[in-house]
């Protein structure tokens, strides 16, 4: 039972990171019908920006500001940096291909992903970057927290899960309760009709990229607080995030959350009860099962294609 609780906490932490990445995929797929392969690398850049900001503020052992402010600042820096990056990528790599065949932006996205991962390696090396979160305020983020039975749940995990939830709620509010969100939903439903109704589709797309990339940046910092980050991490995380989006139903925001948590659970329980080596196999099997039995995902709606 203790193992189970321990793994569940892990699953929630991992799952909230996946869910945030999945949301970025889902949002972009919703409005552009584009599989943004570069999204995982935006996540990676986010974790690097967080690392840089952490060191600019004095490092985790002796930060210049209180710890709560430090966490807010590095997350904010990563979100802002990634938002800018997302806008630049959209402007220069995807917008010129708006009317090209579907395969063209996909290949361009692969190129962006490759470019980002290798640029980071060129500039900052291939070595791992550790946030050293255990050194934050003398390790109190780890030994504080609460206990469930014999299992200790560190404060940092709780912060991660709660802030991911807060971000998702904010996103849900932005998409469902604001004018821009309404425009996003309209564009996602039918871009052409939305444009005819006077919605500036280009602006909606830019806004979508800002949202998605900022979430990826936040996820990058959460990831970095948990395990060391490195330049090639974006590919794998991006793939997991996309899988989470597909499982939940691509284009659906609650679906991305559910998919992320499910995937985090699958991975963490496999690693805990069986072996870490084959957790990819489990994820792949789940993906295939969904492809065969429920291609629209858990919370997605089946597409009716009109000709």
């Amino acid at each position: 039972m203790d193992t189970f609780i321990q793994l569940t906490v892990d699953a929630l932490t991992l799952g909230s990171v996946y869910a945030l990445v999945a949301l970025g995929y889902s949002l972009v797929y919703g409005v552009l019908k584009l599989l943004n392969f570069a999204h995982g690398d935006v996540f990676m850049v986010g974790s690097f920006i967080g690392y840089g900001a952490l060191h600019a503020l004095g490092g985790s052992a002796s930060p210049a500001v209180p710890v709560w402010l430090l966490l807010v600042l590095i997350t904010g820096a990563a979100m802002a940096g990634c938002a800018v990056l997302g806008v630049v990528i959209e402007r220069f790599a995807y917008r010129p291909l708006r009317n090209a065949p579907r395969i063209a932006p996909l290949i361009s996205a692969l190129g962006v992903s490759f470019f980002l991962a290798n640029s980071m390696q060129l500039l900052f090396g291939a070595q791992q970057r550790d946030y050293q979160s255990y050194a934050l305020s003398g390790g109190s983020l780890y030994f504080r927290g609460f206990d469930i039975g014999a299992v200790h749940v560190p404060l940092l995990r709780i912060i991660t899960i709660v802030s991911a939830l807060v971000l998702m709620v904010v996103l849900w509010f932005l998409v469902n309760k604001t004018r821009t969100g309404k425009a996003m939903r309209a564009t996602s439903f039918d871009g052409e009709a939305a444009a005819m109704m006077g919605i500036n589709v280009d602006r909606v797309i830019v806004f979508t990229f800002i949202l998605g990339s900022a979430l990826a940046g936040a996820a990058g910092v959460m990831f970095g607080l948990r395990v060391p980050t490195f330049a090639a991490v974006g590919f794998t995380i991006g793939l997991k995030g996309f899988t989470a989006a597909v499982i939940g139903g691509i284009g659906s925001i609650p679906g991305a959350m559910v998919g992320g948590l499910l995937l985090g659970g699958a991975e963490s329980y496999t690693a805990g009860y069986w072996t870490t080596a084959w957790s990819d196999l489990v994820v792949f099997t789940i993906l295939i099962a969904f492809m065969i039995f429920r291609p629209q995902g858990l919370l997605g709606r089946a597409d009716i294609r009109k000709v």
């Binding site: 579907r102 395969i103 361009s108 470019f115 994820v283 792949f284």
Partner: protein
């Protein structure tokens, strides 16, 4: 599609054959043709039969080891032919079928690992090449069918993600395959060593001859390339090939016409997988070993860059793309060659942008002058900030571009970032501002290339590949030899 209007539509005088629909018969003729003298040359060259080009290629390829007998050139030649084969196979899936197969390299790996398992001391099996290679090709096709099956109902994006995951999975299995229920199948991260060379009727083809790379493997690879090329050519000209192309153009229309769309997708997929598996056996027989890292996404992107650069859909194009990209990657490994290549590209780029005009003269003069000015200023502040090379091209160059003796890491990082921002800005500017911005950008690019990118050939090669993909998709999605069709709506 909007920026170029057809200048000359080539429509032949005679009508379609009896029993053939005119629209279908003229399918291949609806392409854009370049006007002017260059267009005439292009049409003449295109009019030459494909087998003439193939014979020309075979002759040239077989002459290379005769002219240049170094082991390095032979090895690069062999690798190039391997990539050409891979590009041919991917062309079937992407170029003809229009399916985005991101697990392609996994099939290459399946071929390689299957060969290594059946033809090595690992399990003491030594199947004769004549049996093993065709069998593995079929295995590759079957695995391709299996992987394609779950995405049969789904659009291209889902296929892309399933296949990409399959590639990840393949890497996982290969890396952890030394503990499958306690059995060692793939040798784990250490791979499988001591794989047999090719053997024909009891005669083994040695990998090394007098200490250098045996030329026989090169010829085997070229021969295999010719066979695969011709075979795929015939497939493409057949009923199935036409069906594939119609599928790529419009899956919905193809389905309405009664074509078995799912089955066609799967066959295109399986054919590509078979070619990849076949190539895998050859590559493994030569290197006598397989490692999980040989089949990483990096190789996938490389092959994609080849297919896109050459022009997906055109067999000659993808083969040419494979040669160009592999030679490019080889050149980038050597700093001296990479240096020359960069300045050559800059010169060619500037000339194609401005043609032979006064603007060209102004921009080039400004760039050269700017360089000398910056160099003079920097070396007057501190001699060690701008070291002077000794001889050759790099010696001359070092009077122009600033190469500090020791570079603080942040200088490289900042200049790289500024370069990207400047390059992106130049693409947005028009008229005089662009001309003003161009010389500093070129100079900055030279600085970054010399100081940041040349010392790190590993990431640099792949940054160049990534950029190539993005720029190609935007500037020339049909590649070098690909056809650009006139869209009739």
């Amino acid at each position: 599609m909007t920026d170029s209007t057809p200048r000359d539509l080539h429509i032949p005088a005679e009508g379609p054959a009896v029993g053939q629909d005119e629209w279908v018969a003229r399918h291949t003729e609806r392409r854009l043709v370049r006007g002017g003298r260059l267009g005439v040359v292009e049409q003449r060259l295109r009019a030459a039969p494909w087998w003439a080009w193939l014979v020309l290629f075979a002759a040239a390829a077989s002459l290379i080891p005769v002219v240049e007998s170094s082991g390095y050139v032979r090895r690069v030649g062999f690798d190039t032919v391997i990539f050409m084969l891979l590009a041919l196979g991917l062309n079937v899936v992407v170029g003809w079928g229009g399916l985005l197969d991101l697990g392609y390299i996994a099939f290459y790996g399946v071929g390689a690992y299957t060969y290594a398992i059946f033809d090595s001391d690992k399990f003491g099996m030594h199947l004769p090449t004549i049996v093993a290679v065709p069998a593995i090709t079929i295995v590759g096709a079957l695995v391709g069918l299996l992987v394609g099956l779950p995405s049969r109902r789904l659009s291209g994006d889902y296929l892309a993600i399933v296949t990409l995951f399959f590639l990840e999975l393949f890497e996982t299995v290969a890396t952890n395959g030394n503990q499958i229920f306690g059995h060692d199948i793939t040798g784990g991260a250490n791979g499988i060593l001591g794989v047999d060379p090719l053997s024909f009727f009891g005669h083994q083809l040695a990998v090394q001859h007098n200490g250098i790379f045996a030329v026989s493997y090169y010829y085997v690879a070229v021969a295999l390339f010719l066979v695969v090329f011709v075979a795929l050519r015939f497939v493409n000209l057949s009923r199935v090939g036409r069906a594939w192309r119609s599928l790529r153009e419009d899956p919905l229309a193809a389905e309405v016409m009664g074509m078995p769309v799912n089955w066609l997708k799967l066959t295109a997929f399986a054919t590509g997988a078979a070619v990849a598996a076949l190539t895998g056996t050859l590559a493994t027989a030569l290197s006598a070993s397989v490692f999980p890292l040989n089949f990483s996404p990096v190789v996938l992107i490389t092959v994609y860059a080849m297919v896109i650069l050459g022009g997906s859909g055109s067999q000659a194009g993808v083969a040419l793309g494979a040669v160009l990209v592999n030679v490019l990657l080889q050149l980038l490994q050597n700093p001296d060659q990479a240096r020359v290549l960069f300045y050559l590209l800059v010169v060619v780029g500037v000339i194609t942008a401005f043609r032979w005009s006064r603007t060209l003269a102004v921009v080039s003069a400004a760039t050269v002058a700017l360089g000398f000015a910056v160099h003079a200023v920097v070396s007057s502040i501190d001699k060690t900030w701008a070291t002077i090379g000794h001889s050759g091209f790099s010696g001359v160059l070092s009077h122009w571009v600033v190469v500090p003796g020791a570079l603080a890491p942040w200088v490289g990082q900042v200049s790289y970032g500024v370069l990207i921002a400047a390059a992106l800005a130049v693409t947005q500017l028009r008229g005089v501002p662009r001309l003003v911005a161009l010389p500093p950008t070129i100079y900055l690019a030279a600085f970054v290339w010399e100081n940041v990118m040349l010392p790190n050939p590993g990431p640099t090669r792949y940054i160049v590949l990534g950029l190539l993909l993005i720029v190609l998709m935007i500037a020339r999605p049909n590649g070098l030899l690909g056809e650009r069709r006139v869209e009739i709506v």
